[in-house]
């Protein structure tokens, strides 16, 4: 039972960390970034490169974030910016971008499965159980990411501008906020978060050019169900991630893999705005 609870909490933490990059972009830019999966993959390969280079595995996290940030900024300027007024087309263009990134990675590293060194390994005694240290560490990371983003949105100049853009972009522009810059920074941040998450999950899974794809769909569903808010995302990660763990454990892992998608689609049918907890 305790193992189940730990599984639920750690799974939720992983889902939360993976989905935040997508959410921040959707929240501020009203844009669904279907290249999110590709940014996760980039993070995974950043971790792999760190291992290849023989650097400390801890370095994989900032390195992945940096690569994601730079790429995100470039992508925003050339691909995302012309599509502000065509949200459905933006989904497609970012999906196409994901294909490009996936193919470039395949050409550079091949299709083989690779492994990245984890920063910590083994198990610790926790609540009288022996549990994976790394998964517990990811819970800490999720909390730090959540707190960090909240702090960024509510206690910084950037956050103030971003919230103004979220509420009313035209008015924000009228007040002299450079919404183009806010969007650029947001996309960079979202891409950096996604890459970082990619590096964080690679010790749990192997690295391959399609690493991000299954996570993309789940993140997308979670973010929409959350009502695009940080506390909302925490809650749905726990609820739907928990449901996934329970179904996988007691019913079948195959059906477990569907839990988030199906539950999210049904929840959104009843409440199109998501669970809407904690405002926007």
């Amino acid at each position: 039972m305790s193992v189940l609870i730990l599984d639920i909490v750690t799974t939720a933490a992983i889902l939360f960390t993976v989905a935040t990059g997508l959410m921040i972009i959707l929240g501020v830019m009203k844009l669904i970034n279907f290249a999110h999966g590709a940014f996760l993959t980039i993070g995974g390969y950043a971790a792999y490169i760190t291992t290849l280079a023989g650097w400390s595995p801890w370095l994989a996290i900032p390195f992945a974030a940096l690569v994601g940030l730079v790429l995100g900024l470039v992508v925003e300027i050339f691909i995302v910016r012309p599509l502000y007024s065509r949200p459905l087309d933006a989904i497609l263009a970012t999906w196409g971008l994901g294909i490009i990134i996936g193919q470039l990675i395949t050409i550079a590293f091949g299709r083989e499965v690779q492994f990245a060194e984890p920063p910590v390994s083994g198990a610790v005694e926790f609540l009288g159980l022996s549990y994976s240290t790394y998964r517990l560490l990811l819970v800490m990371v999720a909390l730090i990411v959540g707190a960090g983003l909240t702090g960024l949105l509510y206690f910084t100049r950037f956050g103030l501008n971003a919230r103004a853009v979220i509420m009313n972009e035209d008015l924000a522009r009228g007040l002299g906020i450079d919404s183009t810059k806010v969007r650029l920074a947001t996309f960079g941040l979202g891409a950096a978060l996604a890459s970082m998450a990619g590096a964080l999950i690679t010790p749990l899974i192997s690295v391959d050019p399609n690493l991000g794809l299954p996570w993309l769909v789940n993140s997308f569903m979670l973010v929409l169900t959350s009502g695009v808010s940080i506390p909302g995302l925490l809650i749905v990660s726990l609820l739907l991630g928990g449901a996934q763990v329970v179904v996988s454990t007691y019913l079948s892992p195959i059906i477990g893999g569907l839990t988030i998608v199906v539950l999210a689609a049904l929840i959104l049918r009843i409440r199109p705005q998501g669970i809407g907890w904690g405002g926007s």
Binding site: L88, I91, L92, A93, I99, V217, F220, A265, L268, R269
Partner: protein, 606 residues
């Protein structure tokens, strides 16, 4: 009309659908001729991969009709393909093989796909659903189906799929002809369909779904039926694919094939028929050729081209090529057919004995903000009631509550004795409500005639394969069309009209609904004095001659004075005065509200 001999334009209009049919038939025959000789000119390998591409092209067409024409971004069309393919494989593997079994498997696949389409449509399309939600459901669909196949164990072959089941090992040419004939049939039907009356409805839904609902078009039902029909075609294509290749795998139902279809359609040209067909064939065949030598680079090129097309050329490559070719040949695009106008007797709905509109205690709040409270009034036959009041008084909100049952937070709206309840706008139209929006919200890419016809959806049969050569309009609508010069511009796309003509067209569309109660939100805003007087004349004659009830939101008190039979004054979400023109317009209260005094309501007791 019936007694007259046919005028020249009328005869021309009547001949147009036949000419259209002949054109499609000529192209179909040309394609068939190509199909017959192609296998003798091409090598075996090419014929082999072409057969698969032909089936996939038919599937891509269904994506195009849903996404390119109707605006439903679907990731899940592969699921229907997979259902058809697995119906074939499962029946042939586990139950039996032969002509009877083949027909059974085909029908089974189509019915199953239609059932899935119905479920998806019911989930995705309801009044007020965001376009994104449909994409979410169509994204979930192939993922779920793929997992179902995985969970099927030995029955479905799980991740390795089913292969080697008995099938018809006909010569390659025969399969090529079957696949080609299927594609040509689907393509010809698709061309006729998208250019028909109904095809224009699809475009209208893509351009402005909400406005369609207010024209009495049951948008959700149309989308659901379209999903079912496209599912059936997709399943038939999947069946053929499986029967030919003799292999089915979970990838056929998968999300990745679903996105590939979008890429083919986007590159070929969404919202055209031939573009996606040629796009699919070209890309799929090239992929097969390059899969050995340059698999990753080819996919990289396709991905790059896709992003470029979406960002820079959203209409796709083929339409651009076509435009360039036409410019080179100095040929103009084929003109859109122009119907002849005919007057029809208007019989607005509503029981003579009942009061047209009764509003009882209607409320509207947004969270804690009360926008309307305790609104009570009635409108009788032949009344022209003006709603006046300062900005923010709740006039437009009230109009909205009358035309869409979902809008109000409380109270009752009764039309000819029938409670509006929570009915969506298209059902309100059937009760006799016609609403004109403040800004002329019409369909930029449709012609004047096409827009007018849309308003007739509830009243006429819409053809699925041709443009009906006659456009019937009630007298009032026809009068506007003629007096404002729209009658001479029936084939002009709406975006080329002047502001005044757009407003006139919008009003003509509302009147073409043959409403009993007309709701007009500032119909004269931004019009010249002549245009305004013309509209005033039309409104008063509607009320006097046809005994319609008209509810008008208006700021121009002079205009109100000229045409109204009654005036209601609203302020801060309440009705503060309700009386004849003389009583209201000259009252001290109205002057005060408009002058902006802060406590007008306390004086209203007088």
């Amino acid at each position: 009309m019936s007694g007259e001999t046919l005028t020249a334009p009328m005869a021309e209009a009547l001949a147009a659908p036949r000419a259209q049919l002949h054109r499609v038939l000529r192209w179909g025959l040309f394609a068939t001729a190509l199909l017959v000789v192609a296998p003798f000119l091409l090598d075996t390998y090419t014929v082999n991969i072409l057969i698969r591409a032909l089936f996939l092209a038919a599937l891509a067409l269904t994506v195009d009709i849903l996404w390119g024409y109707t605006g439903v971004l679907t990731f899940g069309q592969s699921a229907f393909f997979g259902v058809g393919a697995y119906a074939c494989a499962l029946v042939f593997t586990h139950y039996g093989f032969g002509p009877g079994w083949a027909v059974f498997a085909l029908i089974l696949g189509i019915l199953a796909a239609m059932a899935v389409g119905l479920l998806v449509g019911w989930l995705a399309f309801y009044h007020g659903a965001s376009p994104l939600y449909a994409s979410i459901v169509t994204l979930a669909l192939p993922i779920v189906l793929t997992q179902v196949v995985f969970a099927g164990g030995r029955y479905t072959g799980s991740s390795s799929g089913l292969s080697g089941f008995p099938t018809y090992y006909w010569d390659l040419e025969v399969w090529f002809w079957i696949a080609g004939a299927f594609l040509i049939l689907v393509t010809c039907l698709a061309v006729l369909f998208v250019r028909s009356d109904m095809g224009r409805v699809l475009v209208a839904i893509r351009e402005n779904e909400m406005r369609c609902a207010y024209l009495g078009i049951p948008v959700s039902r149309i989308k659901i039926l379209l999903m079912v029909a496209m599912g059936a075609i997709g399943a038939a294509a999947g069946f053929g694919y499986a029967a030919f290749t003799n292999v089915v795998a979970p990838e056929l139902t998968g999300f990745l094939l679903g996105t590939e279809l979008l890429i083919w359609v986007a590159l070929g040209g969404r919202g055209t028929i031939i573009g996606p067909v040629l796009g699919t064939i070209a890309i799929d065949v090239t992929s097969s050729y390059l899969s050995g030598s340059l698999p990753f680079v080819w996919k990289l090129i396709i991905g790059t081209a896709f992003v470029l097309v979406i960002v820079v050329l959203p209409q796709g490559l083929l339409p651009e090529l076509g435009k360039a070719l036409r410019r080179l040949l100095r040929r103009k695009p084929a003109p859109r057919p122009v119907p002849t106008l005919q007057v029809t007797a208007s019989k607005p709905p509503g029981d003579e004995a009942e009061i047209p509109l009764v509003v009882e205690g209607v409320e509207r709040h947004f969270g804690s903000l009360q926008v309307l409270q305790g609104i009570d009034f009635r409108v009788g036959r032949g009344e022209l009631l003006s709603l006046v009041g300062p900005n923010g008084a709740g006039k437009t909100t009230l109009i909205r509550c009358l035309a869409d049952g979902m809008e109000k937070s409380g109270g009752r709206v009764v039309i000819f004795g029938k409670d509006l309840g929570r009915w969506p706008p298209d059902r309100c139209v059937a009760l006799g409500i016609g609403r004109k929006f403040q800004a002329a919200s019409i369909y930029d890419t449709l012609t004047v005639a096409e827009c007018l016809r849309l308003a007739r959806y509830r009243l006429e049969r819409f053809s699925l394969w041709q443009v009906t050569p006659v456009l019937q309009l009630p007298e009032a609508a026809l009068r506007i069309v003629k007096e404002t010069g729209l009658a001479e511009r029936l084939d002009v796309e709406v975006r080329h009209l002047s502001h005044g003509q757009k407003q006139a067209l919008d009003l003509a569309m509302v009147l073409a609904l043959e409403p009993s109660i007309v709701l007009l939100d500032e119909p004269t805003a931004g019009l010249t004095k002549t245009e305004r007087e013309r509209i005033g004349g039309i409104l008063t004659s509607l009320v006097e001659r046809e005994r319609l009830s008209v509810l008008l939101v208006e700021h121009d008190l002079n205009f109100v004075r000229q045409i109204s039979s009654r005036v209601i004054v609203m302020h801060q979400g309440k009705i503060v005065l309700d009386g004849s023109v003389a009583e209201v317009v000259d009252s001290a209260l109205v002057r005060e509200i408009y002058a902006g005094s802060s406590h007008p309501v306390t004086e209203a007791g007088a």
